[in-house]
Amino acid sequence: MAEIILDNLSKRYGKGHGPFAVKNLSLSIRDKEFMVFLGPSGCGKTSTLRMIAGLEEINEGNLSFDDKQVNDLPPQARDIAMAFENYALYPTLAVKNNIEFPLKIRRWPQSRIDEKVEWVARAVQITDILHRRPFELSGGQQQRVSLARAIVREPQAFLFDEPLSHLDMKQRQVMRTLIKRLHSQLQKTMVYVTHDQKEAMALADRIAVMHRAELQQVGTPEEILNDPANAFVAGFIGEPAMNFLDVEVRMEAGGTAWIAYAGYRLADLPGTLNPSCHQVLFAPLQAGIRPHRIEFSETRRRATDLAAEIVTYESLGERGVLTARLQSQDLTILTPPDQTFRKDGPVWVHFPMEHMYFFSKETGKRFHLYSLDRRPTL
């Protein structure tokens, strides 16, 4: 068993008749895949994970492992291991007993248990704290013990509920690398829940972005980053976040279309407007562009360059973050670390068309305005 199929899964708060925690989620997680559920807090990602684990009741739809339906199977019988957000270690047991707990229940011979615990302790580097008690350990150490306890049973699949959210930056980096390495070594299906998009991008084979109980998009990190399905996914991924401008599409007599921002001519569409997008003309539209894609210069180089007034500039070691105001909106622009600006002069900004995304202002749905606008190159 390793393929997990969610078919129209739904869960409601308050014993099944409150608002939706998860709304008809259909998704199949392939064998040995590292699937990450990503979304802000309260988007339903944790409820989904707990439904897979059997810790939460499924109100509608069904969940199956390989081809066996498991809706009513208790957690014990699902052969899955889980690492919890606050580690969930057994406070009364020493680290060694915490790890061997699942094996003891399965009545493995003690010799095999000791050998297995030894291997796992080395894999997550906790051989030195096997006899300590959980309350004596740091966050990072407790997290490693929780991981060891999950790995030791060689389950069919692993579930992670925001395991790194309470660690400091350095430990999070180390644990992320460790988990990624474990996935490639163990070759088992892993389902990981997080609100940190950096973790999702770093760990996932595929990411399922969720928002307000609904699945927004499923795709590889590269697809999610460069081909967002809607404004939410585009705005949520990427740090610092994508800039959004309120624009309109205007059409000239000769059929060439161009993008207007607050009365200025921002950029021309290469080629003709997609026939399917005609209703977009004159409708309010949102244009999105990532901070590291906006080109800037001290002087005006092109007719479509616009003057933006510098608000603040922060040099952060590896990169600089420039905040500049264009009409009524503040833009975030990434610059090389030791960039300098004239104190009072404006900075001229240019929005390369191939890095622009367009979304409907009301629904946030993405529009592919012109034929080439499928997967802009990186």
């Binding site: 980096q173 992320r176 990427g238 922060e314 973050v321 990434l334």
Partner: protein, 368 residues
């Protein structure tokens, strides 16, 4: 007008010495940042200025007047606490007005009202002046805490990790706002944080505090370019600087960095000459490392194997195993390497750092 001078300040909790012999000068109207890990003693230092933590020994001068024996209310400091420390039983309006109502200040009510409303407008919290702190979001509570400090226009403004409990987007916003509002404060600001990017973004000068000792004080670029020791170098940059142990040896009368059977030439400088034979460690920042598939024709390189690669949007981090150590290198997002693929690290000689292994002292820093 407010400059603050620490003279050999020591702070002990029982026999645990939290602050050892701290001497420091914070200039007037300076945005001074204290950066340090949790437990380094930065909040204690701040609270000693405010007076809520007594000084065990040594003196703190405010405009060359000793204040270490004054009670908090007698010092002209305002403080924003990490947990905001708002008064749960008072409305937002009362929370901000509270300092002005202190009996010792004898400020008439109408003046209090006018000041509070003005500050509330500046911070954009005037719509919910009658709400209780419990009914506010993290960002709003943070603004109320700022308002309560702003309203007094104190000589010194103390901020204890005010942004650490906000989510990433709000933190960036508030950081820009604090930076933009800095002129209107018109006071000396002492800001404490564990997040190095906040320190670099906000501080005129930064002090690196580690286990109760000041490791280095300097501007952002001084700290970043010329760290005094390994500890300072390691505390700046995400992902942090990579380190590799080795020794300085002599090859054809030229000092080289030797580790395993690799020899890397070092620039000629007397400091390196004297420490030949000493245990040292090489420091390289991830963004200065290039990954090459085939052997680069430069002596400044090391062989390695790919451990794991993480895509992070506009860039990717490749962790490569160099001997038993893990090195991290920034690379293009679309460059995919396979597991355990042999790669070569290459870097420009001026980006090399060298630290003594025992004291961590810097022997070689960028550009010299």
């Amino acid at each position: 007008m407010a400059n603050i001078v620490f003279q050999n300040v020591r702070k002990c909790y029982g026999d645990y010495e939290a602050i050892h012999d701290l001497s420091l000068e914070i200039r007037d109207r300076e945005f001074f940042v204290i950066l340090g890990e949790s437990g380094a003693g930065k909040t204690t230092t701040l609270k000693m200025i405010a007076g809520v933590e007594p000084v065990t020994s040594g003196a703190i001068l405010l405009n060359s007047r000793p204040i270490q024996n004054l009670t908090p209310e007698e010092r002209d400091c305002a403080m924003v606490f990490e947990t905001y420390a708002l008064y749960p039983h008072l409305s937002v309006y009362e929370n901000i007005a509270f300092p002005l109502r202190a009996p010792r200040r004898r400020i008439p009510d109408d003046q209090i009202n006018q000041t509070v409303l003005q500050v509330a407008r500046v911070l954009g919290i005037d719509p919910f002046l009658d709400r209780r702190p419990a009914a506010l979001s993290g960002g709003q509570r943070q603004r109320v805490a700022l308002g309560r400090a702003l309203v007094r226009q104190p000589a010194v403004f103390l901020m204890d990790e005010p942004l650490s409990h906000l989510d990433a987007r709000l933190r960036n916003e508030m950081r820009t706002e604090i930076k933009a509002m800095r002129e209107s404060f018109g006071t000396t600001i002492v800001y404490v944080t564990h997040d190095y990017s906040e320190a670099l973004a906000l501080g005129d000068r930064i002090a690196i505090l580690h286990r109760g000792r000041i490791e280095q004080v300097g501007t952002a670029s001084q700290i970043f370019r010329r760290p005094m020791n390994r500890m300072v170098a390691e505390s700046l940059g995400d992902p942090p600087m990579n380190f590799l142990k080795g020794t300085i040896a002599l090859a054809q009368n030229q000092s080289v960095f030797a580790t395993g059977n690799w020899r890397i030439p070092l620039p000629e400088n007397p400091r390196l000459r004297e420490s030949v034979g000493k245990e040292v460690c090489l420091g390289l920042r991830p963004q200065h490392i290039r990954l090459e598939r085939n052997h680069p024709d430069t002596p400044f390189s090391l062989p390695s194997k790919l451990f794991v690669q993480e895509l992070l949007g506009d860039h990717a981090i490749a962790s490569v195993a160099v001997g038993d150590r893990l090195f991290m290198a920034l690379c293009q997002a679309d460059q995919a390497y396979s597991l355990d693929e042999p790669l070569y690290l290459a870097w420009a000689p001026e980006h090399m750092y060298l630290f003594l292994e025992d004291t961590g002292e810097t022997l070689l820093a960028e550009g010299n």
